[in-house]
C-alpha cells in the first residue's frame, strides 16, 4: 500500500508487532510504521468486529487504536516508535488490565 522514499536517511530501529520484529525509522509514528511494514495490521472494531486501518493519521478518527507496551486503546498515529516497542493489534474493545 505504501513504500518508503529511497533517500530516507533516518536511523532504523526495531519494533515488535505481535512478537514479529519489523524495521521502523526514527520519527515514524506507530501507525506509519505498521502501514509501511506490509503486514496485516487491521484491527477489529469493538462493536461488530469489522476490520479497520487508520483513516485520518492526525488524531481525530481513533481507527488507529492499538495496544502499545501492554497499554490498550493508544492512538498509534500520535505515538512515535521507540526501540523495542511491543505492539499488539487490537481485537475488539480494550481489555481490562491492558
Amino acid at each position: 500500500m505504501f513504500k518508503r522514499a529511497e533517500d530516507d536517511g533516518r536511523r532504523a530501529l526495531t519494533i515488535h508487532v505481535e512478537g514479529q520484529a519489523i524495521s521502523a525509522r526514527e520519527g515514524d509514528t506507530v501507525s506509519a510504521a505498521l502501514l509501511a511494514s506490509g503486514l496485516d495490521v487491521r484491527r477489529d472494531t469493538a462493536v461488530s468486529g469489522a476490520k479497520r486501518l487508520p483513516y485520518c493519521m492526525m488524531g481525530v478518527c481513533f481507527d488507529c487504536l492499538v495496544t502499545i507496551d501492554g497499554v490498550g486503546n493508544r492512538q498509534g498515529c500520535l505515538v512515535p516508535v521507540a526501540e523495542g516497542m511491543q505492539i499488539e493489534i487490537q481485537k475488539g474493545k480494550r481489555e481490562i488490565g491492558k
Binding site: K3, R25, G27, D28, M57, V60, C61
Partner: protein
Amino acid sequence: MSAAPKHEQYDVVVIGAGPAGLAATTATARAGLSTLLLDENAGPGGQVWRAIGATPVKNEALLGADYWSGAEIARAARDGGAEIIHRATVWSLDRNLELGVSVGGGSAFIKAKRVIIATGAQERPFPIPGWTLPGVMTAGAAQTMLKSSGLVPDGPTVLAGQGPLLWLLAAQILRLGGRIDRVLDTTPRANYLAALPHAFAFMTSLYFVKGLAMMREVRANVKVTTGVTELAAAGTDRLESVSYVTAGGRRETLPVELLLLHHGVVPNVNLAMAAGVEHRWNELQLCWTPVLDADGNSSIPGIAIAGDGAGIGGAQAALWRGRIAAERAIKALRPTAKVSDLSPQLKRAERGRAFLDILFKPAKQFRIPQGDTIVCRCEEITAKDVLDSVAIGATGPNQLKAYRRTGMGPCQGRLCGLTVTELMAEARGKSPQEIGYYRLRAPVKPIMLSELASLPKSDEATKAVVRG
C-alpha cells in the same frame, strides 16, 4: 519523554503548534509574557508544516516552498522564550481558564490569564458507501505519512474529492515517485458559475498561480475524471474497488488498493465547544465556526481562537490571526504595551477565500448519506439508523445519543457530528443551526482513570466524597 508543565500558572497558554499557535507563542513570549505552548504532536508545525525539521524528505523542491516557510516560524517560536511541550494532550478547558493537560501518562491542571486556542482543522467527514474499509483514508492522512515518514502509495491508488489539498497531495506523491492511477474530481459543475463573481479576487490572490501550476503538473501525469456525481468504495474486509458516476451519467469501476478522500477541512471544535465557546452554523463553509470579534476573542472572556479553528482561512491567514490574538493578549495583560494593527495583513491573506469556499462547497450527496452508509464510524451507525430514530422521536444530535450512541465512541463526534447535524436537519425540515450539535464535555480526548485519580487533591475535595 516530554516533561510536565514547569509552573501552575502562566500569562498565556497556547494550544496547538501549527501556524497560528507558533506565531502567537512567538509574539507573547517576545513581549515578556510567560507563555506555555501545548501541542499533541511530536514536533512543531501542526498539519500544514507537519514534521518540519524532522521530515526525511530533504529535497526542498518536493514538498514546496510553502511547506518550508514553516521552518523559520517554528524556529522563531522555539527561540522566543516560551515553554513548549509536545505530545501534550489538553483534555479540559473551562471558563475559569483552567486547563487539564496530559503529558507522558500523567495529568496536571494549570491556570492561564489568557488562552489562545489554535487547534486548527480536521478533514470534513466524507461518508460514502464503504468509507470504513481498510484502504480508505483521507488525503490528509497520506500527506501526513508523506511528510513525516517519506511514505508514498505504491499500489493501485485513486484520489477522490475536491479542493486545493487534493491537488497538492497528488503533486507531492508524484514528485516522490508514488503511484496514482486516477483523480476523481467531485467539484459540482454548478459551483464554477456560482464562484464566478469572486474570481477576480481569487485571481489576484496568493493561491491562483500556484494552484494552476499544481493542477497542470498533476494532469500531465495522471488521468483526471471531473464532474463525478457518485462515489462508492467496495470490498470484503478491505478495499478492492471504487465505483463512480461520471458527469455523463456513466457508472465505472476501478480496481484499487488505496482510496484517498478529501473535500475540504473544517474547524476542530471539540475543545472550544467543551469550554463553552459559542459556535454558529456557517452556511458558506457548511460547518460550525466560533462567534469571534475581529481580534479572535470568543464568547468567553480570556479565550481567543486563532487559525483554522476560527473558520477555515489557510496557513497564511492563520499566521496573522495568531499574531492578532497575541497582540490582544499582550494589550490585555500589559496595557502600556504598544501593539500594531495587523488587520490589513490578515485581509490580504484571506483574499480569494470566498472563491475557494463557493467553488469547493461539497455536493449534498457527499455530505448527507443514505441507506446503509455508515455515519458514525465508532458505533457503526448508518444513515438509515439515524433516520429511523428521527421517525420515532429523536429531535437532535443529543437525543440521538440515547437512541444510537452516535458521537459517544472514542472520536467523540469528530467524524460524524457534521453529518448527523445535516442529516437530522434535512429529515426534520430544520436548519442545522436549529438542530444544533453534540454537547461536548471534558475530557475531550480519552484519558486514563488512573491519571485523574492521581491528580493532587485538597483535603476539602477528599472530604467532599466521604460519607457521614
